[in-house]
């Protein structure tokens, strides 16, 4: 018996999702090694770790630019960018659902306001990482920018704190996806999801 499937993620969305995921994971791992090579013994030398870090930095730049372009060109932005007006209105019902104060929630579109908030936050974080990263990478070239941030040590602290934010939000992201159902997880590979997938809302409310 075949289930009726609908398209959930286009090929481009999936490509960008996985290259960005690989880039960010590698950046986090190499980054922690660069931060504390004696504690976080993952790589052979600073040379290797930094080499990977900078290579993945470029992958991230391309991935972020590509994803932003796609979001605009394919009119996908409305799906993933948090709208302070629309999405804030939907927030209470979502929070109630996640805090088990309600059994279901209205249909929000492709993503709920929390997800949209997180994805928008990631864009901001990624851009901040790219800016602070390149300041650290080419200190002389971006001297003026470093002053704008309040000096290199602050730049470094920002770079490091956002790393932690990435670790935490990625943890949340993976958990929430798995918790919502395996078909959601699968859909990021196949692009498709069963047409009758239950998103946690009642049909009659939708």
């Amino acid at each position: 018996m075949f289930k009726k499937m609908e398209e959930r993620h286009s090929l481009w969305i999936r490509i960008f999702h996985w290259t960005n995921m690989i880039a960010i994971t590698m950046l986090i791992l190499t980054g922690f090694y660069i931060h504390a090579p004696q504690t976080f013994r993952l790589f052979g030398s600073m040379d290797t770790a930094r080499g990977f870090h900078f290579a993945m930095a470029y992958v991230l730049v391309v991935g972020v630019l590509g994803r932003v372009y796609y979001a605009i060109a394919a009119k996908d932005a409305k799906n993933i960018v948090y709208s302070p007006v629309e999405d804030t209105k939907k927030l209470p019902s979502m929070l109630k659902y996640y805090l088990f104060l309600a059994d279901d929630h209205p249909y929000y579109g492709k993503y709920n306001p929390g997800q949209k908030g997180m994805y928008t936050g990631w864009l901001v974080m990624a851009i901040l990482m790219i800016i602070t990263g390149f300041i650290l990478y080419k200190p002389h070239l971006f001297l003026g920018l470093s002053g704008w941030f309040g000096g290199f040590l602050t730049v470094r602290l920002i770079h490091y704190i956002i790393t932690w934010l990435f670790v935490l939000t990625v943890m949340l992201h993976v958990y929430l996806d798995v918790a919502e159902g395996i078909p959601i997880l699968k859909s990021m590979f196949t692009g498709k999801i069963p047409a009758d997938f239950h998103h946690g809302y009642h049909e009659d409310e939708a």
């Binding site: 040379d47 001297l143 943890m171």
Partner: protein
């Protein structure tokens, strides 16, 4: 142009690894020539400083450069080495020179500008009727008339030690006090004599400012990063880190500011080419940077203040938030299972649905 030294060669000289020969002594004859041909006078004044920059400048073994600086260039006033003192110094050597050469003299400033208590933390002279002249007024009066201001040392350039918190005298860098005059910053605590001589030589020889970076420093001396040219760089690349002073290894974890510090001490070396900070086992404290010395000198990453007299490390914040996230996830997972959103109950539902 009187000098036979082209600007291109000059820059090459300055930027090259000059430990082999002394830049100062090489430049001396050219400076003599430029002065003979009528280069603008130079006035040197000191505010909230320790005089270390002047001492560093005079620490060139070559006798010729001392002669150049004290006698030959029209260094009309220097607080430590001029014969003029008191009224003579203030009236004749400073104000008169500034007034008779408007926009045609260079003002060298050493030390920050105390602005608290109407500048009275630094009095440099008095007027005819006995009123004190404070440094803030002096620098406003004559700084605005200068062709360019050359800040020697981190204090006049960025505030440095006197402007570091709590800064009771409200010290400020020169750029915050005098506006609309070109400023060259030659930071360092102290600056290397070659940086000072080279900068003065450049303005005298070419009557023009050298190319500056975004923090106002001459690129010919401040374009390189300590970390990239460090003699201990190999240790960094191979992730060998010193845990205590005296150990071999890169000293990043001891707080070395090499990755953020711009200057050429790695190749120029101090004390007439003898040694430099990391060469004698110290960390780079980044004395040429605007944040010096407000950053923790011997720590890799500063703590973050979270309340009065309390600070935490980024890792502590990360771990606490990480714990909270893990707890949140565990709680939500438990809730999901109890309410049957996932787990056996949901599987049952699904079966019912299919049936």
């Amino acid at each position: 142009m009187s000098s036979k030294l082209s600007r291109r060669d000059f820059l090459k000289m300055c930027a090259g690894s000059a430990a082999v020969i002394s830049l100062s002594s090489y430049l001396a004859p050219f400076m003599k020539e430029a002065v003979a041909a009528g280069a603008p006078p130079v006035i040197w004044i000191q505010g909230a400083s320790c005089t270390g920059c002047s001492i560093s400048l005079l620490n060139t073994v070559h006798p010729d450069i001392k002669e150049v600086l004290t006698k030959v260039i029209s260094l009309t006033y220097h607080p430590n080495i001029s014969a003029a003192a008191g009224d003579l110094a203030i009236k004749e050597a400073i104000y008169k020179v500034a007034e008779t050469n408007p926009k045609n003299f260079f003002l060298v400033v050493e030390g920050a500008v105390p602005t608290g208590a109407e500048g009275r933390f630094c009095m440099v002279g008095e007027t005819e009727n006995g009123e004190p002249i404070v440094f803030e007024k002096l620098i406003k009066d004559i700084g605005s008339k200068a062709k360019a201001i050359i800040n020697f040392g981190t204090c006049s350039a960025y505030g440095g030690i006197p402007a570091t918190s709590p800064n009771p005298t409200d010290c400020k860098p020169v750029s915050k006090v005098v506006k609309n005059v070109p400023i060259i910053n030659v930071p360092g605590c102290p600056p290397h004599p070659d940086w000072m001589v080279g900068t003065i030589a450049h303005v005298l020889l070419y009557n023009d400012l050298p190319e500056l970076d975004s923090f106002g420093r001459p690129k010919m001396f401040f374009e390189r990063i300590i970390h990239d040219n460090c003699q201990r760089r190999q240790y960094f690349d191979n992730a060998i880190f010193a845990k205590t002073f005296g150990e071999m290894g890169c000293m990043l974890e001891l707080g070395c500011k090499g990755p953020y510090a711009h200057c050429d001490a790695t190749t120029r070396l101090w004390n007439n080419g003898n040694n430099w900070c990391v060469g004698c086992g110290g960390v780079c404290i980044g004395c040429t940077e605007p944040q010096f010395p407000a950053w923790p000198m011997y720590e890799r990453m500063p703590d973050m203040p979270v309340g009065p007299a309390t600070s935490v490390t980024a890792d502590q914040i990360g771990l606490v938030l990480g714990g909270a996230t893990a707890l949140g996830i565990a709680g939500h997972l438990a809730g999901n299972i109890i309410t049957g959103r996932i787990g056996p109950k949901k599987a049952d539902e699904a079966k019912e649905g299919e049936a």
